[in-house]
Every structure is written in C-alpha cells, then in structure tokens.
C-alpha cells in the first residue's frame, strides 16, 4: 500500500493554547482505566481540562469576553 502510514512516525502537534493534535485513529486510556477511541483522521485532545467531552476538545479553552 503506497499510502500506508504504518511505518511512519506519528506526528503530534502541540500549541501553547488549544488542544494536542494527533493523527487518528487513537485510543485514549483515562485515569480510571476506561479506554475511549476516536477514528477521525485527526484528533484534538483536550489539554485545558475544561472540555465537557473530555478527553476530546470541544473548544472550551477559548477566551471568554
């Protein structure tokens, strides 16, 4: 498969403000041992801990005015 990404390193994009961006699909193990998965092509992982859909970003990190 010419397009198979399996051998390539997974890229994670970090930003000072905003979610961690990962290439999907991913599985995330939460503190209580629960495993949740996302099969999106890109996954936005919440880092501000304010998301109501944690561990996925729901844009709750945004400034409020």
């Amino acid at each position: 498969m010419p397009n198979s990404p399996s051998d390539a390193a997974r890229r994670v994009t970090v930003q000072r403000k905003g979610p961690l961006l990962l290439e999907g699909p991913v599985e995330v193990e939460l503190e209580d041992g629960t495993v949740v998965s996302s099969d999106r092509f890109r996954v936005a992982l919440c880092t501000c801990r304010r998301s109501r859909r944690y561990p996925w970003c729901d844009t709750s990190h945004r400034d409020r005015a």
Binding site: T13, F41, R53, C57, D63, R64
Partner: protein
C-alpha cells in the same frame, strides 16, 4: 402515489427578477435587464431567489428544467449581474478587518452572555422554533459541504490535502450513513419535517437564501478561493460552541436522538476541523498565495455579516411570536 422525485420542484416567484428567471427556466419569457437587477433590494427575497435559482442548476437542478441551462450564456450573464450587485454590497457592508488574524480573533472568543440564535434556542426555544430553524437550514445542510468541494482544484499542497481531509469527514469518511447531509435528514425526520431536497425553498426567508448564496458565490469562482477558505474557517470555528447549544436545545425539548446526534457530532468534529482549517488550509494557502490574505479576511467578515442578518431576522420573528417561514411547513406541531 407520486414517486419520489430526484430533482426538486421550481419554487414560487418573489418578484420580477425571480419571476423572469423562473420563466426562462421553463423556456418562456425574457431574462431581467440591468435596470431591473439594479432596482431590487440586494439582500431581499426577489434578488436572492433569482440568484439561488441560477446557482441551484450547479447542484441538483430542478424537475422539468434542462440540465444544459447550467452553462447557457444568457442565464450566466444574468447570474453575473446579480452576483456583481451581491458582491459589491458585501464588500461595502461586511468588510471589517484587514488581516486574517484580526478577522479570526473576533470569532475565536466566546461571548459570556451570547444573544445569538443558538443561545435563544438553548434557553427558551420551543419545538416549533427548532423545526423552523431546521427547515430553513435544510437548504444548506442537505447539501452540507458541497459548495466547499469546488475549491479543491484551486488549492495546492498542504491546503489541498487538509481541505480534502475535512471534506472527507463531512462526507462521512467513506460511509454513506455518516454523511453529514444524511445525519441532518435524520434530524429532520425526528422533528417531523420532510427530508426531500428543496422541499423548504419556498418557506425559507431571504436572509437564509443570502447565507447559502454566499457559499455558492465563493465556491463557484476561482477568483474568490481566498474568500471561500475564510468562509469555511468561520463555519468550522463557530460551529462547535453553537452546535453544543443546539444539542442542548434538542435535548431539552425532547426533539429526538437523531436531532441530538447531529449537533453532538458537530461539537467534536468541528473542534478538530477548526484546527485543521486554521493551521493547514489557511496556513497552507497563505504560504502558497500570500496575496490572498485580504480575501480570506473578507470571507470571514462576509460570513459573520450574513449570519448576523439571518440571526437578527429569526430572533425578530420569534421574539414577536411570529413564524420566520414564508409558508408554514406541513405541521402538526406549530400552533
């Protein structure tokens, strides 16, 4: 029993411009002249419907209308005259920011006490208002992400790859049952609405036509590719928090599981899309064609402006206890 049609029916005219275009589509009568185009209110029912009719030939067409009219020079000339008025008005009325960063900064902040349509629907929307909102928006959501697909051949490299990835998601990631237009049809079913494409064209208000014509205008012109990208970014950036409020509205009113799911899906999906569109579609396009920056900013501003027009219209009607629709949907819910 009538069989389901693959093409929508032609709507009713809303004035001389749309009547002339309708007659032309049916094969009779002259198209409007320049004076008639210049005389109509630019964001009004008649001009916007005339333009919508021209654009719809590029999507699904109309029953009984020759598909060849899509590229008929006379009709294209009329479309161009309508577009010139629309675009000139938008550039004058909507432009607020000179740079992409400034334009985006305004929509990346969440108002604490928002007063938009999604705030209203979350806090006190009644089922009949949610149904009206869905009937109006169905003119876009039943072809969700279609106008944006036209930009793909006009992008290159990083911007193209990222735009295609987001569109792939919008189109269900290769699965027909996850196509966003299909998820919206299921929402409409939950709300007791008819999911036939084009069914609510007669019902939709002028301001709704403006929002859809904006996407078609930007999508169909390579010269407006920067504006299309700015528009798309605005939709994705504002969608996630707005969708959360609408999901809450659906839950509170007991609209149904598919109605909740449509907006829940958009909370998460568009939080990702926003990142991809900002970093890679806008970032990639600016790297490739930095001179498009003012157009990207214009696309953002024009989208905010037209969404505000629609929001003001819906809230004015609902706060006065009026229907926002021009013709009521066949409804067992609305009083």
């Amino acid at each position: 029993m009538e069989h389901a049609r693959s093409e929508p029916l032609l709507p009713e005219p809303r004035g001389p411009l749309s009547r002339a275009v309708l007659n032309h589509l049916r094969g009779t009568g002259p198209l409007p002249d320049g004076e008639e185009v210049a005389a109509a209110p630019v964001y009004g029912d008649d001009l916007q419907l005339a333009l919508y009719l021209c654009y719809e030939l590029h999507y699904r067409g109309f029953a009984g209308v020759s598909p060849d009219l899509e590229w008929e020079p006379e009709l294209l000339r009329t479309r161009a005259a309508l577009e010139r008025r629309f675009l000139t008005a938008l550039r004058a009325d909507a432009s607020r920011h000179d740079t992409v960063d400034d334009a985006l900064a305004g929509i990346l902040v969440e108002p604490v006490d928002g007063t938009g349509v999604s705030h209203f629907l979350r806090d006190k929307g009644e089922l009949w208002q949610l149904r009206e909102y869905a009937a109006q928006r169905s003119l876009y959501h039943l072809k969700e992400a279609d106008p944006h697909a036209w930009v793909l051949p006009r992008l290159r490299g990083r911007a193209k790859a990222a735009m295609a990835a987001v569109e792939f998601d919008e189109f269900g990631g290769g699965r027909a049952d996850r196509v966003h237009a299909r998820l919206f049809a299921e929402l409409m079913t939950d709300l007791g609405l008819d999911t036939t494409y084009g069914r609510y064209l007669d019902a939709a208000c002028a301001e709704l036509l403006v929002t859809v014509n904006l996407m078609s205008l930007f999508g169909l012109h390579r010269s407006l590719r920067g504006a299309l990208v700015g528009h798309f970014a605005t939709v994705e950036i504002t969608s996630s928090p707005g969708s959360r409020r609408l999901a809450e509205a659906m839950r509170r009113t007991g609209a149904g599981p598919a109605a909740e799911h449509f907006y829940d899906e958009h909370v998460e999906a568009d939080a990702v899309h926003e990142q991809v569109v900002r970093h890679d579609v806008i970032g990639g396009l600016l790297e490739d064609e930095p001179h498009l920056a003012p157009d990207i900013a214009f696309g953002v501003d024009a989208t905010v402006f037209t969404e505000d027009l629609l929001g003001d219209r819906l809230l004015a009607d609902w706060q006065a206890g009026r229907s926002s629709l021009r013709t009521p949907p066949a409804s067992e819910v609305h009083p």
